[in-house]
Amino acid sequence: MSQSGQILPHGRVLRYELHERLTHWTAAFSYIYLLLTGLAFYTPWLFWIAIALGGGQISRMLHPWAGLIFFLAVMKMYSMWAAQMRTTETDKAWWGAVGHYARNEDDKMPPAGRYNAGQKLLFWGFFWCSLLLLLTGAVLWFPEFIPWNLRFLRYTAVVIHPAAALLTIGLFLIHIYMSVFAERGAFGSVIRGDVSVEFAKRYHPGWYKEIVGESSTPRK
C-alpha cells in the first residue's frame, strides 16, 4: 500500500516517498543539464555555457543521453502520478480564480487535491513536451542518417525541438518560483519527503481531508 499521504509525528505529513523523490531529482538534474547545453546551442550569446561544461563536443555528445534519462524519468512520473493529474471540476474553478492565486489570496481558492490545476498543467505540459523532444531529438541526434528525400523530418525537428524546449522552460521557471520561493515548505517535500500539516491544509485542503479520513488515528 502506498505510504504517501500518511500523517507523521510532529505535525508532519508524508507527501513524497523515496522513489518519488528519486524520480523527481533524476528528472530535475537531467533537465537542468539539457537546459544549459540546449541553450548553449540555441543562441550564440550563451554558447559559453557549453565551453564551461566541458566544451561544445562534450555537450553535443552528452545532451542526447541526458535526454534519454530525462525522458525515462518523466515516463516514471507518468506511471506514478498520471491518475492524480486528471482534470476535475474543481480545476476549472481553480483556473477561474487564478488571479487570486497570483495575488496570494489562497483562502479565496477552490480547495485543491493532492495537485492543484497549475501543477497539473506543469505535469501534462512536461509530459507532452518530453514526447516531442524525444522524437525530434532523435532526428537531431543522427541527422546524417536521414535520407535526402526525408529531409522534411530534419526541417521539422530543428523548429519543434527548441519550441517544445521553450514551452518547458516557461513551465520550469514558474515551477521553480512556486516551489522554492512562493510556497515555502514545498522544497522540503522533495528533499525529506514531508510537509507540515499547515502546508497541507493551506495548499491542498482536499488532499489533507482525504488523508485524515483515511488514517483514523493520526500517530503522535
Binding site: P44, F47, A102, N104, D106, R154, V158, V159, Y177, R184
Partner: protein
C-alpha cells in the same frame, strides 16, 4: 594566411562583431563549370583527393560509371553521371561536377551553433574549421545542396574548401588545374559570369541548345561556383541540382523569429517572476509573521 582574421566576413554561432565585416575587397573569386564540355574523366576527383590528402573510401559497382552515389566526408568532389532521354528519343549524357557551391548566403553557416566552426572569407569561400566543429550536423540541415558530410569517427563535418590554402597563395584550385578539356575555369566572379554568359549564348545560337544558360542561383545570394547548363530550365536533370535553392524556411524560422521570441519570453519571464516576488512575496506570510516583521 597571416591576414586571415581580417579576411573573414561571416562567422557561424558568433556573438559580437566580425573582424572582416564590411572590409573592402576588389573581387570575389569563382569557379566556372561548363557541363557541356565535361567528359566525366574524374581527373578533378583525383586531383581533389591528392591535394587534400583524403583517404580513399569504398566504391560501389552498379553497372554504371557512378561508382559513388554522393560526396562523402573524405570525397568532396564527385562527377554525377545522368542519362537523359530527349524528346526526340536521342540520349544525352549529362555530367555534373558536384561539390560545395560556396553560397553567398550559406545555409550551413546560418544553421551552425558553434562559434567559428564555419566562416566565410571576403573572397567568397565558405570554409569549415573542424577544430571548432561540435558535430551537431545542423549544417547538414541548413545546406540546400546536401553537401556537408559527417566523419563518423571524429564527429566533425567536412566539405570542399575551394582549395582555400591554394587560393590564399595565388594558385587555382586543384580540380581546375587537372581538367583536360578546359571545362573548368577560375577567376573573379565577374569574369566567370561574363565567360559563362558568352558560352551559353554560343550554345543557344550555334549548337541548338535553346535553353542553355548559367546557373548562379539567386535564392542563396548567388554562388562562388557557377555552371553552364545545356538546359538551364531543368537543372534537376543534372543529378538533382535544385531549381530555386534557398535556405529552408524552417531553418530561417528557427534562427530568426523563434530565437527572438524565445529570448524575449525567457528574459521577460525572469523579470516578471522577480517583480512578482517583490510585489507579493511568499504565500505563507501569516498574521503572526507580518506583526513580527512590523515590530522589528
Amino acid at each position: 594566411m597571416s591576414q586571415e582574421t581580417l579576411r573573414i566576413q561571416k562567422i557561424s554561432g558568433h556573438a559580437g562583431t566580425v573582424a572582416g565585416e564590411g572590409t573592402q575587397r576588389e573581387y570575389t573569386i569563382c569557379k566556372l563549370i561548363d557541363t557541356t564540355t565535361c567528359i566525366g574523366c574524374k581527373a578533378c576527383e583525383v586531383a581533389c583527393m591528392e591535394w587534400n590528402d583524403l583517404p580513399f573510401g569504398e566504391t560501389i559497382f552498379g553497372n554504371t560509371y557512378q561508382t559513388m552515389p554522393e560526396t562523402r566526408w573524405n570525397y568532396w568532389n564527385l562527377i554525377l553521371f545522368n542519362e537523359h532521354e530527349r524528346e526526340d528519343g536521342s540520349l544525352m549524357w549529362l555530367m555534373r561536377k558536384n561539390q560545395c557551391m560556396h553560397c553567398a548566403d550559406p545555409g550551413c553557416l546560418a544553421a551552425c551553433p558553434s562559434d567559428g566552426a564555419i566562416v566565410q572569407y571576403t573572397n567568397g569561400i565558405v570554409d569549415f574549421q573542424q577544430a571548432n566543429c561540435i558535430g551537431c550536423g545542423y549544417c547538414i540541415t541548413g545546406c540546400p545542396f546536401d553537401i556537408p558530410k559527417l566523419n563518423p569517427q571524429t564527429k566533425r563535418v567536412f566539405k570542399c574548401t575551394l582549395c582555400t590554402d591554394r587560393v590564399g597563395e595565388g594558385l587555382e584550385p586543384a580540380c581546375i588545374k587537372s581538367c583536360p578539356t578546359g571545362c573548368l575555369h577560375f577567376g573573379s566572379k565577374d569574369d566567370m559570369l561574363d565567360l559563362a554568359e558568352k558560352r551559353a549564348k554560343q550554345l543557344r545560337d550555334h549548337s541548338n541548345y535553346p535553353n542553355a544558360g548559367v546557373y548562379d542561383p539567386k535564392g542563396v545570394g548567388g554562388t562562388s561556383v557557377v555552371y553552364v547548363l545545356h538546359d538551364a530550365a531543368n537543372p534537376e536533370l543534372y543529378g538533382g541540382l535544385p531549381k530555386d535553392p534557398h535556405i529552408p524556411w524552417s531553418v530561417k524560422l528557427w534562427k530568426g523569429p523563434l530565437k527572438w521570441l524565445g529570448n524575449v519570453a525567457m528574459v521577460g519571464g525572469l523579470i516578471g517572476l522577480f517583480v512578482h516576488y517583490l510585489r507579493f512575496g511568499p504565500k505563507d506570510r501569516d498574521e503572526e509573521e507580518m506583526k513580527a516583521e512590523t515590530k522589528s
